[in-house]
Subunit: 273 residues, 2 copies
């Protein structure tokens, strides 16, 4: 079945894994994506914060009581193949389902950390901090993605979609946000290669715009770059900053309209998607 | 002194650190860059292979006997701030020089590994392999760069130039070369942020083209992607593959002409540089 054949995107019986689901954009994605899944869909939520995950689960349940929501409190930075394989297989067995029960296998790589936004990149010289940062933002993404696609190989379901949550920082350097820029550039390239290598997959790098989350507050409080700080403060004051609700609606629309080429990035502000 | 004030680039009394200097492009850079340094310049060569480094040193000595060449056999992937600080400080003290003795502080981040070119990115699920790969290609680059710039802060010398050896893989996805693409995209972004943050630096990402080195042979032997393999075999057979000599001459010219904006990438095939 060629990519793009399954229409519409939403309303299918879906097995979805979503990382960074305990707060912010991840929580909103869970609620609004979950609302649109067909009954008997399964939504697997991963994040470190167990309490935050439970609250997300409660709100998904309000939005759509007909799907199963399974929480896996996990520190992705410490993940490996066995752990992620276990999470996906346990989810299937707890939900009493098999991969072949689904029309759509859907993974959303939303988890990510900001890195050290205080110093300039010329000051980043802590090997351990770099190692943890890269483990969370690159390695765990690669391994979870790999284990997900092993459970849902080509042909196992009619349709497979991979979403990478990216940022303007993937394509534009921002002062004092060097680690974040590096991780987002790296991840976007990873998913471009994935799209190139497996053309039966549908791969989207979605850039949610400057969204009003805890991450924004951290940037404002910690950056040493006045321009970066002022830009965020200004957006918050003038309420031009994007809300989690707004960017989630856009993501839903982008996935529904499918005007993007697999592997491509689409930004919140891009028109025609 | 504003960036770009020191002209010409070559022929200055230079303190240069060059990684990946035991073979291939790194060795050729050492010989040809070293040839162009003023007498009493210092060239610090870093790589894992001690024997290879000694051979590079011998050949630099033939090209320019008036400079000091110091070898540091080092596994960059295991590096940290203290190690790299030590390498730079030991080099200064062995050469009996101080940072202020130089007109140009010059670092060339040439070391890099290909990663696992066998599997597709969907198969990359080895946390340890990822960790070592990222430590070498991203973390060690950041830390060495940081320690170099601490020894040569703004104002310590008239001119500071940072070269990142990049690849077409930084901007274009290639099947079965996912890790390499990821590392090169990440590094290019790192150096873009560096250029943005410190405008007194001169930062160049130089992409040497498809060069005839051991890395090329590894790609031909290990890639599972027929298109990638055939492209390299074809270039080798038709001798359209770039030689280390050719790409080094181009790099010398790009640095000399300085037609690039700091932070920019320039490819071997780009005209006007």
């Amino acid at each position: 079945m060629p990519a793009g054949a399954l229409q519409p995107f939403w309303g299918q019986k879906t097995f979805c894994v979503l990382t960074g689901a305990s707060q912010g954009i991840g929580r909103q994605f869970a609620i609004e994506f979950g609302r649109k899944f067909a009954k008997e869909s399964v939504l697997v939520l991963i994040a470190r914060n167990s309490q935050g995950l439970q609250e997300t689960k409660r709100r998904v349940g309000e939005a759509n009581p007909d799907i199963q929501v399974i929480c896996h409190p996990t520190d992705l930075a410490k993940g490996n193949a066995a752990l992620f394989k276990g999470i996906i297989e346990d989810s299937l067995s707890n939900a009493k389902v098999s991969p072949g029960d689904f029309q759509l296998a859907f993974i959303v790589h939303n988890a990510g950390s900001l890195g050290d936004v205080g110093p300039s990149v010329a000051e980043l010289n802590d090997a351990e901090q770099w190692s943890e940062f890269l483990a969370l933002n690159i390695t765990s993404t690669s391994i979870l993605n790999s284990e997900f696609l092993k459970v849902f190989p080509k042909g196992s379901v009619p349709y497979r979609t991979v979403v990478n949550v990216t940022s303007l920082c993937a394509v534009q350097p921002f002062c004092s946000m060097g680690q974040y820029c590096v991780s987002k550039a790296a991840r976007e390239m990873f998913f471009k290669v994935l799209a190139e290598e497996d053309q039966s997959l549908d791969v989207l790098s979605y850039s949610p715009g400057p969204v009003d989350t805890d991450m924004t507050i951290t940037i404002i409080n910690k950056t040493r770059d006045a321009k970066t700080r002022d830009a965020f403060v200004d957006m918050k004051e003038k309420k031009t900053i994007v809300t989690c609700e707004q960017t989630t609606l856009k993501a839903i629309q982008v996935l529904s309209n499918k005007q993007y080429k697999s592997g491509q990035r689409v930004d919140y502000f891009d028109e025609g998607y």
